[in-house]
């Protein structure tokens, strides 16, 4: 062993934020607003919080404007419930939809550059699955900043937390969670730039590490979305929830899978097959191109399977077309400028005059770490882990159930981020300080992993294992799944994991050693993929983004969330959490819309 792995120093802020994206920093801002002067340390894998993946979100953020004479919060709640295929939690739906507008106004007052109407008000556009009158006509509900909505949010919450003087540790990776008995007291963080390990001991720890879909060959997610957060939670013996619910966005740009926002269809773009037919009319006569994502992704795959797709001349991959040619030039130039630029730059197509090649791409995790309505992480359906919180895409409270509606994720970041921040501000008032020194065994987990990487000898290639993983997940745990395909995937993942033990590092340095970090990330991808595959195999029904060809219907027997634990690779234990149906049970006005309803668009 050439490197001695040791803890370099200890920091003791009141609050540790793991993941400085939109959710983590909205939460941090709420803590500082409640209790100015709170010491907060926020860590992020990327070079600056501003580079977090939230910055790339394009289309918008849903909120019912109280001044809107047509729209009502109950419609938004209904759409979210229906979109989730009846597996979101209604207490969360209510909380998020009711506080949506207030949080939009918060962002606006703190400087976000929303697009405006002629009257100077925040402009709104339609988005998939968002409708008036319980599913009748499309609603103008998505508040947006051109096609840079995520950037607007990220810049705003980053600016606010900067103003409050919180400490950022950039290019710093949380590598191990720390506990004192059953209470979370912080984490071990690896500083990539210096190769040092620091221990951060805090009264409260928030995890907001975002998405995880880099285990798919075609994905909209940034390079850093490797499921670290989920893997850390699993390693700590805690459960993850509904991870089989992966969202495939229907319109990824063929090749790299870069997202072409639903905002394009919100502005009038139409999907066409090889014959030029606007095929969504056939599948979803009312919502058509603005039907929810799971449904459209399946329709596209069906068109391709039945021979009505095209093959891209450069990438040699199947796709359908997105037609934006009829959209007025000024809309191209002002409201969808960035996305149109992607087509020009990455596939050499001019959307104003040519058809754009698109295909489903892995996009979003509806599941995540289970939390209650205050973002407190759960140990099981009844108990929470003291001191540990989660929000954003990483958390499953769950607002999205098995399918998320577009624009509901950014909304979740800012609404739940605020809720969790308020809760933490309350909690740290009386919470005990963490112990003086790091608990016995601190760093053991990560040091033994890193030592393994440093010591491993063998001829296996990181790139080959990574690519085989991505191909397998895309083919067998993608838009369509079968029992046989999932079983084969589980075997394959077992094989890949053992081969990954025989990859050899080419440099022994700890400083900015990207290969070392990639080995660690690959382990996470393999671990999280294993849990996804096993949960998908166990859910013998189809619901939202989880579609089993051998069980194509929703089944009442599976009307619950799935909790999954994995202490040892491949050995997954499942448990259940009931779905909250409190709106339905309260029997108030329109309660019948919140029962187990049919899902037609």
């Amino acid at each position: 062993m050439t490197n001695t792995l040791k803890i370099d120093s200890v920091l003791r802020p009141e609050v540790l934020v793991i993941g400085a994206g939109g959710a983590g920093l909205r939460c941090a801002a709420a803590i500082c607003e409640n209790r100015p002067g709170t010491s907060v340390v926020a860590v992020t894998k990327v070079h600056s919080p501003q580079k977090s993946h939230t910055s790339t979100a394009q289309g918008g953020m849903a909120a019912v404007d109280p001044n809107d004479p047509m729209d009502k919060i109950v419609y938004h709640m209904f759409d979210t419930w229906k979109g989730s295929d009846c597996s979101a939690d209604q207490n969360i739906i209510k909380k998020v939809c009711e506080s949506a507008w207030e949080q939009i106004v918060w962002l606006e007052r703190h400087g976000m550059h929303f697009s405006r109407t002629e009257q100077g008000r925040i402009a709104k556009r339609p988005f998939g699955g968002h409708m008036l009158n319980f599913g009748q006509v499309k609603a103008f509900r998505a508040c947006y900043e051109a096609d840079r909505t995520g950037k607007g949010i990220m810049d705003t919450v980053w600016g606010e937390t900067l103003k409050y003087g919180i400490t950022f540790l950039n290019q710093s990776i949380a590598v191990e969670l720390l506990f004192d008995n059953d209470r979370c007291i912080g984490a071990v963080v690896f500083l990539e730039q210096s190769g040092k390990f620091v221990v951060i001991l805090a009264k409260a720890t928030i995890m907001a590490t975002g998405g995880k879909t880099r285990m798919y060959q075609v994905s909209t997610n940034c390079k850093q979305n490797t499921g670290d957060g989920l893997a850390l939670v699993l390693q700590a013996g805690l459960p993850v929830m509904d991870v089989e619910a992966v969202q495939f966005h229907p319109t990824g740009i063929v090749g790299p899978g870069i997202l072409a926002s639903e905002a394009l269809r919100g502005e009038g773009a139409v999907l066409r097959n090889a014959e030029g037919e606007p095929f969504m009319e056939r599948y979803a006569p009312t919502a058509r191109d603005l039907a929810p994502r799971d449904l459209i992704s399946r329709c596209i795959m069906k068109e391709i399977r039945e021979g009505r797709g095209c093959i891209h001349r450069d990438h040699k991959l199947p796709h359908v077309w997105l037609d934006l040619r009829h959209i007025p030039e000024h809309v191209h130039k002002t409201r969808i400028q960035e996305v149109c630029g992607f087509f020009r730059k990455f596939v050499g197509v001019d959307p104003q005059h040519e058809l754009c090649p698109v295909t489903p791409t892995a996009h979003y995790q509806m599941g995540g770490v289970p939390t209650n309505e205050f973002g407190e992480v759960q140990r099981n359906a009844q108990q929470i882990v003291q001191g540990l919180y989660a929000c954003g895409e990483f958390a499953a409270a769950s607002l999205h159930g098995h399918n998320r509606l577009g624009t509901n994720s950014l909304l979740e970041l800012i609404t739940m981020g605020k809720v969790v921040g308020d809760k933490i501000a309350e909690y740290i008032k009386d919470a005990d300080l963490p112990p003086e020194s790091p608990p016995e065994g601190t760093g053991c987990e990560i040091f033994s992993r890193f030592s393994r990487y440093f010591e491993a000898r063998g001829k296996e290639s990181y790139a080959i294992i990574r690519d085989e993983l991505r191909q397998t997940m895309m083919e067998k745990v993608g838009v369509f799944r079968t029992g046989t395909g999932l079983s084969e995937t589980i075997d394959k993942l077992t094989e890949l994991k053992s081969r990954a033990g025989q990859m050899q590092l080419h440099s022994r340095s700890l400083v900015m050693n990207q290969e070392l970090v990639q080995f660690w990330e690959l382990d996470h991808l393999l671990e999280v993929s294993m849990v996804i595959a096993q949960c998908a195999l166990a859910r013998k029904e189809s619901r939202g983004g989880h579609y089993r060809e051998d069980y194509p219907e929703r089944d009442p027997e599976f009307h619950h969330h799935t909790l999954a634990f994995m202490r040892e690779y491949g050995n997954v234990n499942l448990d259940k959490r009931p779905i909250d149906m409190s709106i339905y049970e309260a029997k108030g006005e329109h309660y019948e819309k919140f029962g187990i309803i049919e899902r037609k668009y």
């Binding site: 600056s48 790339t56 109280p66 400087g111 405006r116 840079r148 950039n170 001349r313 450069d314 992607f342």
Partner: protein, 236 residues
Amino acid sequence: MSKEYDITLKISRYDPDTDQSWIQDYELRVGGILRFVDLFRKINDEQDATLAWSSSCEHAQCGTCGMRINGKPLLSCELLVEMAVEMFRTNVFKVEPLTIAPVIRDLVVDLERAYARVHAAKPYLISPASPNPQGDEFRIQPRVLDRYVEATRCINCFCCATACVTQKNYLGPNAMLVNIVRLMDPRETAKKERLDILYGEQGSPRCRTAQACSFVCPKEIDIAHFIALAKEGAIG
């Protein structure tokens, strides 16, 4: 089918463990539609796992993968091989890190040091105007927003700061924009403080109007235009 190209990348390397710098050549045969980030990945996969470089979103939205290719600062995720061959009229590319901050390893620079200038320009409303009496959002007319909306598109990739002829004691073009946007934003009331930043020691007096910033900006923001407006006092 896009063409295959035989190309050479001459990459600046730096090893912090030994404090050594050198130029390393990598020969590749690649499809024209690959992006430069794909080339680096290919090098890592097939030739040299130790080459360090940065990226995140890989579609020109985060500004992490800025570097100099044949001297030009740009985002390596949006440079396709066929474009590069056409633009530089060569198959040999010199690949170097940005110059605005110290190098950590190879093409990875310490962006935190670069960001210190952005922080100095205060990327937030210092003192937001009091809320709308109706309790909802401020009204901003589209024609008011249109005057500065282009400047809000900056992603802090620091390509402009790298190209800038003033390298010392200057906030740099992107940090200037941070300040100018808020000078033009009707919601910012701390105009005095903003003007102090604008005309201060590290502000507009340092700009020599070379316009290199506008020329290289991957977002095609006419930064020089905004700085010129600010110098003339034509904003706010």
